[in-house]
Amino acid sequence: MTIQVQDLNKSFRVHVRQEGWTEALRSLFKREYQTVQAVKDVSFTINTGEIVGFLGPNGAGKTTTMKMLAGLLHPTSGTIEVDGFKPQEQKNEFKKIMSLVMGQKSQLIWDIPPMETFLVNKSVYEIDDHSFRQTLDELVELLELQPLLGRPVRNMSLGQRMKCELACSLLHRPSVLFLDEPTIGLDVNTQEKVRQFIANYNREHKTTILLTSHYMGDVTALCDRVMIINHGKLLYDGELQVLSEKLTPYKLLEVRLPSSTRGPWESYGEVVTFEDGKLTLRVARDRVPLVSSELLANYEINDLNIQDPPMEEVITLAFQEESHDH
């Protein structure tokens, strides 16, 4: 087991202020504070080599949890163990086996080429010449970095910079990788490349990866297992597929038929859309085989497609379920 988290809690004291001139003035003399509990009794374990997706809306507590795992934040209570280390002790041995990538923050030095930051990391992480060369060559090839190595970071596009960030954080071959929204702001094409890279890297090096993202595509492409967090509480921890079956006990049937065809579609399932010969039906999972064979037998069908409901819908439902509990 690589990561073990037990009853983790984190609360912040936040300064609250009403709007308006007089209130602003008043807050100079008398400050009011509010305690915000960002993470509540979270427990989980992650095994070596696993990729786990960490999902939740903004402010759910994902990043806070991740920062505690990386040792940046001290937990208010509870225990964390990463590869036998307590992250908040910030031992150098721990720092050398892990890496943190924050999509919104750069570790590359802004006005000089990325190679300079790579060289700094080489020394700071005490990477020997041979393995540095080898790792760098591999990363340069996989991420197509060659043309970027000599260019100041500020002149790069976001996608180019993100690829350099990834390379930079992998030079010391961490066994645990925390990726906080690594694809944020990237175009679809670059997102796909970054995803492929992460998937390959995990396969080849058995790196344990915890990933947060707002893009469902990241999670469906990379993670078999997801953890869903909202309002600081862990709502679900398990396989993505199981979650989907549990929350959306139906599939979508997309049928193409001649536009003149009419039928009692409601008797087969809930009609989502029906126009220009394209019919979309929502059908309970156990009725899907029956409904499809009936449709095929009774109508002239050009095409029939059975789909899982989009992940976005599943996740939205997961968040809604939790709000009902409140």
């Binding site: 890496s99 943190l100 030095i109 700094v120």
Partner: protein
């Protein structure tokens, strides 16, 4: 440790030349205020013009070589959240700051010393008559001054873990420093009470004390008090930093997504 330092020194060196213009402004722009102050004093005491030239040119030199800017950097990085990357890397952030100080001050030295030598060719009062011991004492005081100023600045930087915009408080600290460190007037012109008070504050040891040695106005009593004061302040500040650092990390909110 040394290889880590060398790597960061190299990177800071490359970075420094990426900001050519701002580095130059930084080096020469700060000369304006002492030069104006010098002219004011020369106007008040026209017969002492030469000693003011020596004092204020030496001031520019010492001030640049002991200058500290770490609090501004830390304030920005902690507020924006990029400081996190220094915390997660296996090398204490203070070393990054020290390396940066070495690089910039090295550049100031390489540029300002030849400037002084050229000026001294034309202005006789700038020719220094220090003994070898004198130079040794000056360098020791200068180093202690740089350590104290750096430590003070870094200490304020650590406070950013607790407060927003510590730089406002630091700016106030610097303003007081203008008077008590000898940047507005030479120590000999300050009222006796201020001179007394300045012995207990760190300001004098940051700039005024090395300056007195360089301009040859320090007697043996001043030297003794000066070195004892500098040393105590340096040790005290380093101890406070090491205690405050861990408390600061616990408090750290690692802001930003």
């Amino acid at each position: 440790m040394i290889t880590k330092y060398l790597a960061i020194l190299r990177m800071k060196y490359v970075e420094m030349f990426a900001y050519q213009l701002s580095t130059m402004v930084w080096m020469f722009g700060t000369m304006v205020q002492p030069l104006i102050t010098m002219m004011v004093w020369m106007n008040i005491y026209p017969d002492q013009g030469e000693s003011f030239v020596l004092y204020f040119v030496a001031l520019i030199m010492v001030e640049r070589l002991t200058s500290a800017w770490d609090v501004w950097e830390m304030d920005r990085q902690i507020r924006e959240g990029t400081f996190s990357y220094q915390i997660v890397r296996p090398f204490h952030p203070i070393h990054w700051a020290i390396a940066e100080n070495i690089v910039y001050k090295g550049l100031f030295l390489v540029v300002l010393v030849p400037c002084w030598i050229i000026l001294a060719l034309f202005i006789p009062s700038l020719r220094l008559h220090l003994s070898v011991t004198g130079w040794g004492l000056f360098l020791a005081a200068l180093l202690l001054g740089a350590v104290i100023r750096f430590a003070m600045s870094f200490l304020f930087g650590i406070l950013c873990f607790w407060m927003n915009k510590v730089t406002a408080i630091y700016a106030m600290f610097e303003t007081v420093s203008l008077f008590l460190s000898g940047q507005i007037a030479p120590f000999s012109l300050l009222p006796p009470v201020v001179k007394q008070i300045s012995t207990f504050f760190p300001y004098r040891y940051m700039i005024g004390f090395p300056l007195e040695i360089l301009t040859g106005t320090a007697n043996s009593h001043t030297l003794m008090i000066g070195f004892i004061g500098s040393f105590i302040w340096a040790v005290v500040l380093i101890v406070i930093i090491s205690l405050l650092w861990n408390a600061g990390l616990k408090k750290n909110q690692a802001v930003g997504g």
